[in-house]
Structure formats: C-alpha cells, structure tokens
C-alpha cells in the first residue's frame, strides 16, 4: 500500500518534529509539508501532531542507535534557516532508517549535502557571532541584541554562560524574537515580542567612545582593504555592533551630563530623549528566574 501524502502541523519544537516522524511511520503517511502554529490551508489531509515526550524520546533513541553524529547533525540542522527544513530532515531520517549511517561518510550525498550546507552556514554564523555580539551595561546588567539568520541563540548560550558566569546578562534575538537570560548560574530562553533598551549610562557611553577610538586607530591607513573587511565581517552583522553605531546616538544621550559637568547618580532611564520607554528587562531579571 502506498503511503498517503499528508500535511503535518506541529508546535515548531524539535521534540514536536520527532513526533511527526513517529506519526508518519505509525500511520504510513508521507508528509509533503510541515506547518508550525500558523493557520494552514491545504487540499491534502492535515494532521495535527501533539508533542509527546515519550514518542520523541523513542524516535531520538532510534536515531542515536544508528549514528550519534546524525543525531548531532539533526539537532543543529533543526536550528538553521534552510528552506523546507523539515522536509530535508525527514528525507534524511528516512534514508538513515533505510540504509544505516554509511552514507554519512560521503559529504556529497544528495540527501546529506543540503543539511550539511545549512549546518555549515549556521556554524559560520555562530562562530562570527561569538565575537560580534556587543554587550552594553545597564546598571550592572549586561545586555545585547543580535540579528542572525539562523536560530543561534541556543548554541550561543553555553559560550556566553561560561564566559560571563559571574555576571547577569541578557541577549535578544531580533529575528526569532527570543531572549536569553542568565543570572547566577541559571539560564533560560523564552519568546519575547519586543525589547526596548534603555539609554546607556555615562560610563557605558564612555566605554563605547573608547572602543570606537581604539577601532579607528588600530587600522593602518596604507593597508586599507574594505573588500577583505567585508568578507570577514559581512555588513548584515554591523547593525548591532558598537563600532558602527552612529555617533549622534551617544551625543544626544550624554548632552545633559556634560552640561552639568558632574556625575549624576540617577539611572539614565529617566531621560526620554529618544522616546524609548524605560527598560522593562534589566530590573526584572532577578525575579524572572
């Protein structure tokens, strides 16, 4: 009996996806499209998959039994921005079940290669973002934003939690609207629709200025090579990097301080020069965890 073409709707989590695999084999259905939480209209029959941890575990065990490398690859590939991600992963898992793990040795395999390519793209972005993330200090709490193509936040988590283990910090992913919060050895990732950052304080502005100054002076004029710079640091990363933020931003933020010529102890959140509401996140960090 031929497998029936079906549209699967699941909750968008990795466990949910593994349950789709489970249901597909159970009901002998071939998923031709996957939908997340959004509404789906299709002429094909639609099956809503309910995420069940025990089913997910069972599928994961079956993958692990064939290859640990495949398990690692699948987890990473699930975070990528590859087109028709679920379908590619599904094809890969079917091949793994049918043939075993030998085809993983051949990186040009037509089923393996798309995943590999996507994961390489993810790894590249991850590697770059470890360096390109910029934090600002908001009254003792470090905060930063990123705009990645892939969902790198879960993978950046261990790097930054190790590095800033004795700090409190948050990192916001603008593309996928997720926030990573870390405080006292515990971290959490959860969806946040919008994040308004407060104006930087005086010390923060001073450090930004120092960094920009260093960044400008470290370049050797007679070796000027923008093509090389763009290759290593594509322009899409620069929107969240301190050294490329416009100067006016800080000048406006600090004007009152220089006029007063004294250290004003009050937090900068009281100033609404930029019409950004005061920070909702930093003070609430402790209570959120």
């Amino acid at each position: 009996m031929a497998w029936e073409d079906t549209v699967y709707q699941y909750d968008g989590s990795y466990d949910g996806f593994l349950c789709c695999i489970y249901e597909s084999y159970l009901n002998k259905e071939f998923p031709i499209a996957f939908y997340g939480d959004e509404e789906c209209f299709s002429l094909y029959p639609v099956r809503s998959i309910i995420t069940s941890p025990s089913h997910a575990r069972r599928v994961r065990r079956s993958i692990l039994r064939r290859s640990e490398a495949a398990d690692r690859l699948l987890q990473r590939a699930f975070l990528t921005c590859m087109e028709d991600k679920e379908l590619c992963l599904y094809r890969f898992i079917r091949k793994l079940y049918a043939e075993g793990a030998a085809f993983l040795k051949n990186q040009s395999d037509p089923v393996y290669y798309p995943l590999l390519k996507a994961v390489r793209h993810l790894n590249g972005e991850l590697e770059k973002l470890r360096g390109f993330v910029r934090f600002s200090e908001y009254s003792g709490v470090l905060g930063g934003e990123i705009e990645p193509k892939n969902r790198v936040l879960p993978l950046l988590r261990s790097h930054f939690c190790n590095r800033y283990a004795n700090e409190t910090f948050f990192l916001y992913d603008r593309t996928h609207r997720e926030l990573l919060l870390y405080d006292k050895g515990r971290s959490r990732i959860f969806p946040v629709d919008q994040l308004h950052l407060a104006l930087p304080g005086e010390e923060e502005v001073q450090y930004r200025r120092l960094w920009k100054c260093f960044y400008e002076h470290i370049a050797i004029q007679s070796r000027f090579n923008p093509r090389c710079q763009n290759t290593h640091m594509p322009k899409r990363y620069r929107g969240t990097m301190t050294e490329f933020l416009p100067d006016e931003f800080e000048r406006r933020a600090t004007a009152p301080y220089t006029a007063a010529d004294a250290v004003i102890p009050s937090a900068p959140s009281g100033r609404s020069a930029l019409e950004i509401p005061p920070p909702p996140v930093p003070p609430a960090v402790g209570s959120n965890l």
Binding site: N106, S108, G131, F135, E137, H217, I218, C228, Q229
Partner: protein, 421 residues
C-alpha cells in the same frame, strides 16, 4: 591627558605589530574570576578593522616612549610624536571594561623600552599582575618579551601571560645592524630559547602535578618586517622554517613594511607596503605548517622570490608536473594535499567519501574543492573534467588568469604593471 587620548596614541603605536591571535589556551571559567579563553581552535575574532585585519585583543603599548632608535619604527627616540603611558590601573580597567562588553578576547601588551629592558618588563609585569590578581582577569593575555630582559623577569611574565612573543624584527643580522643598531641577534634568540625550554618544562610538570604553574600555555610567536631590507623570500622562508623547528614557535607573522619615516637606508616614504609579498609568504607559511612542504621545495637558488602572479602551491605544481594528474580515488592523503585547490579539509573529505562511493567532479565541488584550480591536476575515476582544454604551454596563463580574479583590485593592477614591464 585623558584616557581617550592615551588610548588613541598607544593603539596607534601598537598597530604595526601583526600578531593578533587568541588561540592555543583553553581555560574554562574559574569561580571568582572574570572570563575564560576561547574554546575554539582558531581563537575568536571580535571585529575587523578597515584594513581587513582581525581585532581580537586590545592591542596597546604600555608606553610609547623608547630609548632605542630603530629606523623603521614609529616609536623611535628621534621621531617627533606624542608620547603617553598607561598606568597599570587604567590598563586593567580598560581591559575588564572591554572584555565584559565582548569587545575583545583579552589583552595584547607590548611596550617601548623605558630606561632598560628589565625596567620595562617590570612595569609590564606589574600591570599584568594587577589585572590577574586584583581584577581577577581570566581571559587571554599576549605579552611581548623584550630582547635583553633577564631570564627571571621573562619567567615572571610567562606565568602571567598565555602567549609570549619575541620579535625577530628583521630577517637578517645585517639588516638589524643597519636599521636597529641597539638590538642584537643573540639578544633576540636567547629569550626565545628560554621560553621554549620553560614551556616544555611546565608542560612536563603539569603532567605530574595538576596545579603546577603554567608558563605561557599558548606558546610563543614572533614577527618580522618584510620589505624594509633586501632579504629574499627564500631567506625569510628558511628562517621561518628553522624558527618552527628550533624554537617550536606557534606562529611566525610577517608584517609588510609600512614606510613611517624618510631615511636613506629605507624604502622611500611613497612606496606602498608590499602586501602581495606578505600574502605569498603567509601562503607559504601555511604550506609549511599544514601541507607537509619544506622551504627548499618552494624556493631555490634559481627562484629566490615568490612569483607575484601565482600562489606558491600552484607554482610548485607547475614545476613538478611529473606528479600530475593524480587520481582522486586512489591518491594518498599527502599527495591530495599537494594538489592546488585541495586543502586539509577537502583532502579529508575526499579520503572519507571515496570509501563509500565513486567521486565525480560535481561531488568534489560539493565537498568544497576549488575545482577551477584543481581540475588541471586531478582525474576522477580515470577521467578528466568534461570540456577541459589545456596543454603544457597554456596551463600557466590559465592559472594566472584565475589567480588575477582572486586578488584585490590594487594588487591585480600591480600585476598588470608587472606584465607590461
């Protein structure tokens, strides 16, 4: 003078040093301390400056006042430039402030020579000690060992830093005598030898005692200026190879000479830095370190300098066409590495993939092999690439044409001028 001015002066003074790496030390988080060192093999780049070089460390001088008068250096005694010094506390606060914001991976500390090398090193040690012990900084530190410093002080410095480096400065003794009369070749190699021995001792001790002091866990590196003296590429490459072998260096950096002063002994002020030559030397450096090449294979008496038109690997392959074409299905790993367009990663992928399937040119492309170069030198299952036409006489121009597209426009122009001449 405020901190901003100081930072401007002292980063300006330090920027001609090429070394900027944060690899080689793996140190996880330690309770009560700030930060760790990069877990990746290649270190971590935090930004790229307008000249395309990676910014990973806060690269500054402790002070740019110097008693020496090396002709090629911006900080020489006779140069009329603004001088500044960081206090240890300023430096520590700057490093911590930058590190917490993820601007940098750590500190690169060098210094002009104040009074004498020992005094200068003492100042650096004081700054690093403050940073490590009072500010509890656990990130990466690269420190310069100044030639002529006493061994005790170098040892102290190595306990605080992750990587040490002693600059060779100029590739030959004659160059040193001419341009940096206060520096002696022996003074440069003595600390290098000491660092190598201490590093090996410390490693051996760590095997026995887990808490033995760590001396420069990321090893040592060096740099030399290319283009200030008349040394040939062959001389530089042989020196590089012997440095790797004799002193177990992790890296040798080449720095294209940027004219900072007008002097009868130096190239004139309007000469452009020899960037292409520096690039070729780095390519050859990679061939030495990862591809199993020897310096004498790449350059010899007849060809003492690299061809600006071709990269060293293509150049070698062209002169040894008797080895080619190689069959990718059967060639051993070492031979695959010698094919232009196949790198370490590509060669590994081929070796792994050919065990499960026959490889075609399309497969190789997917594995990240640079076919436009490799196609001339390989066969897949006994066949060469479809539609590929070349002969012994057209191969050189074809490869040159490919190479020209890879270089930045200015350097490609340099080549076309060369062509015309």
């Amino acid at each position: 003078m405020d901190l901003l001015d100081k930072l401007a002066i002292l980063s300006d003074a330090a920027k001609y040093d090429a070394a900027c790496t944060s690899s080689g030390a793996r140190r996880g988080f330690r309770a009560g301390m700030i930060g760790n060192t990069s877990s990746s093999i290649a270190g971590c780049c935090h930004s790229f400056s307008a000249d395309g070089r990676c910014v990973t460390l806060l690269k500054v001088l402790m002070s740019n006042a110097c008693i020496y008068d090396c002709k090629y250096c911006v900080n020489r005694r006779s140069n009329d430039t603004r001088r500044a010094s960081f206090t240890p506390r300023e430096l520590a606060e700057l490093t911590i402030g930058f590190y917490r914001r993820n601007y940098i991976e750590g500190l690169f500390l060098s210094s002009g020579v104040l009074r004498d090398p020992d005094y200068t090193t003492e100042q650096m040690i004081r700054a690093l000690r403050l940073l490590r012990e009072e500010y509890r900084f656990n990130g990466y530190i690269h420190a310069k060992a100044i030639p002529g410093t006493s061994p005790e002080l170098i040892y102290q410095l190595g306990l605080l830093a992750d990587r040490l480096s002693v600059n060779v400065e100029l590739p030959s003794e004659a160059g040193l005598r001419l341009l940096a009369p206060e520096k002696h070749r022996a003074d440069i190699f003595r600390p290098m030898l000491q660092i190598r021995e201490r590093h090996a001792e410390s490693k051996a001790e760590l095997v026995k005692y887990r808490h033995a002091p760590r001396f420069a866990p990321a090893g040592q590196s060096t740099q030399m200026i290319v283009g200030a003296t008349g040394d040939s590429d062959r001389h530089i490459l042989h020196l590089t190879e012997s440095l790797y072998e004799r002193y177990r260096l992790k890296r040798v950096f080449f720095s294209a000479y940027v004219p900072v002063t007008e002097h009868a002994l130096l190239p004139s002020r309007d000469t452009k830095p020899p960037l292409l030559r520096e690039h070729r030397l780095y390519q050859a450096d990679w061939l030495l370190r990862f591809y199993g090449f020897r310096a004498e294979e790449l350059l010899d008496e007849q060809q003492p300098d690299f061809d600006p038109l071709l990269d060293p690997k293509c150049n070698w392959a062209l002169r040894h066409m008797e080895y080619f074409p190689v069959e990718v299905m059967t060639a051993d790993y070492e031979m695959l590495l010698r094919v232009p367009g196949i790198g370490v990663t590509g060669a590994r992928r081929i070796v792994s993939a050919r065990r499960v399937s026959h490889l075609s040119f399309a497969d190789l492309k997917k594995m990240g092999i640079v076919l436009k170069r490799a196609q001339f030198f390989i066969l897949c299952c006994g066949k060469s690439r479809d539609g590929l036409r070349f002969s012994a006489s057209t191969l050189l121009p074809q490869l040159v044409q490919i190479e020209r597209g890879e270089l930045p426009p200015e350097q490609a122009q340099q080549i076309s001028l060369f062509d015309a001449g």
